[in-house]
Amino acid sequence: MARLKLPKALARYTNGTTEIEVSETTLKDTLAKLTNDYNLGTAILRDDGSIQPYIGVVVGGELLNKAALTDPSSIEVTNKEIQLKTAFAGG
């Protein structure tokens, strides 16, 4: 199992839920299931399945850079915490 933490900005799509337990073992499958379960459309994933560039993905406390995210199917997430981050600009 992995724990997925969502930014509050996505909570409107998940009925207010910001933490979800997932049984998928890779990042790609985890995000695909999230998108399907909560009808997220292209909020996180593009039509081609790649991760939207404005979504920061943190696995095990470390932000993954663009190169690491080119193949999300290779990123193991079992027993890890995954966080999705979006920027905000309030000052």
Binding site: K8, A9, Y54, G61, E62, L63, N65, A89, G90, G91
Partner: protein
């Protein structure tokens, strides 16, 4: 032997002994022994304990005449530093015998009184306070983040602060922008803030610029040591990041929304990541609404803004570990802080920017 000669002290110092000038700040004025650290007598034990000075360290104490240091040496011996000595004759004889001395950054007597709590801290001290007093900072935004940051920067004595904002104070600002007041409603925020800052500390210079920050504002950050970002829109954030990258200025960035805040230091000249490494693209508006649309709890920008002032203090004085390559996030709902590590993205434009900077320096 507790008391030793200045000549013996110099020999021990060359072998690694720690020389400490324990005189009061007003006695030290602007001169101390070469290589000496300055820790006033009444802070000696607590400071050495706090920094964890090893018990096998040879400690040499210097006061004005040698009396206080002799008593202090005996006390330190009992408290766990058995190889502690007092320099006979104190600094008076040290100076009369033409022993090596060094200048201490000048702080006026009134500054010494104002910043006394900083001078007592080993992390700041006289050197650190002098750096703060000479520092130059630009702040973009005099709103939720800028308000607390500006107040603390002024209070800590940052010598020059340039405030940049084009808004005026509105009543809906007062729930969080504590630098403003009902009396300054309708006044430009930078003017309102500057008045309050000068009221808190008349010894600093506050420059006000009524202007919306954009790509033409490079001149406003070119002559400062660092920049604090309290802007309320993505355009200003990316522009400021790019200008700081180009000019080699550390950028202390904060952002808030609803119950959350985040903070990091970008564009550090030592090669830290930039804002674009963390957020390559702006999210769509439904995923990143403004505070006007979504709201913000008043104390959230207060918390993040104060932490921005803290990062400024660290960068200026050199103590601690600044938030370079670390994103600190704050969730007010459970009062939790979390840290996310991130590094320079090889595909980010900042790699090119750094190369340009290096070429320029060469």
């Amino acid at each position: 032997m507790v008391d030793i000669s200045a000549q013996k002290a110099l020999e021990l110092q060359s072998e690694g002994a720690v020389l400490i000038d324990i005189r009061r700040p007003d006695e030290v004025a602007d001169l101390t022994a070469e290589g000496a650290r300055i820790i006033p007598r009444d802070m000696l034990e607590i400071n050495l304990s706090r920094e964890g000075l090893p018990s096998d360290t040879t400690v040499l104490l210097l006061c004005q005449s040698g009396a206080r240091s002799s008593y202090a040496a005996k006390a330190l011996r009992h408290l766990g530093w058995p190889d502690t000595h007092s320099v006979e004759g104190g600094f008076s004889r040290w100076l009369a015998d033409n022993r090596p001395v060094k200048s201490v950054p000048f702080l006026s007597p009134s500054d010494r009184e104002r910043y006394a709590r900083h001078l007592s801290l080993p992390e700041v001290g006289t050197d650190g306070q002098a750096k703060l007093c000479k520092a130059r900072i630009a702040m973009v935004g005099a709103g939720g983040l800028g308000a607390p940051a500006a107040l603390y920067l002024a209070a800590m004595g940052v010598g020059f602060i340039r405030l940049i904002d084009d808004d005026v104070v509105e009543v809906s600002n007062l729930q969080r922008q504590v630098i403003h007041s009902e009396a300054t409603l309708g006044v430009e925020k930078v003017i309102s803030a500057a008045k309050r800052m000068q009221g808190l500390n008349s010894g600093i210079t506050v420059e006000t610029v009524v202007r919306r920050f954009d790509e033409t504002c490079g001149d406003l950050i070119a002559d400062v040591d660092l920049v604090i970002n309290g802007a309320d829109n993505f355009a200003a954030r990316y522009t400021l990041n790019d200008l700081c990258l180009e000019l080699g200025k550390p950028l202390i960035d904060g952002a808030v929304l609803e119950m959350e805040g985040q903070l990091s230091v970008f564009c550090h000249p030592d090669g830290g990541p930039c804002y674009r490494c963390l957020y390559p693209e702006t999210p769509p508006s439904d995923l990143a609404p403004s505070c006007v649309a979504a709201g913000v709890l008043g104390v959230v920008p207060g918390t993040i803004g104060i932490l921005q002032a803290l990062e400024a203090a660290k960068l200026i004085t050199g103590f601690g570990k600044p938030l370079v390559g670390r994103l600190l996030t704050f969730d007010a709902t459970d009062s939790s802080f979390e840290e996310i590590a991130f590094s320079k993205d090889p595909s980010c434009v900042c790699g090119i920017g750094c190369m340009q900077l290096q070429k320029g320096a060469a």
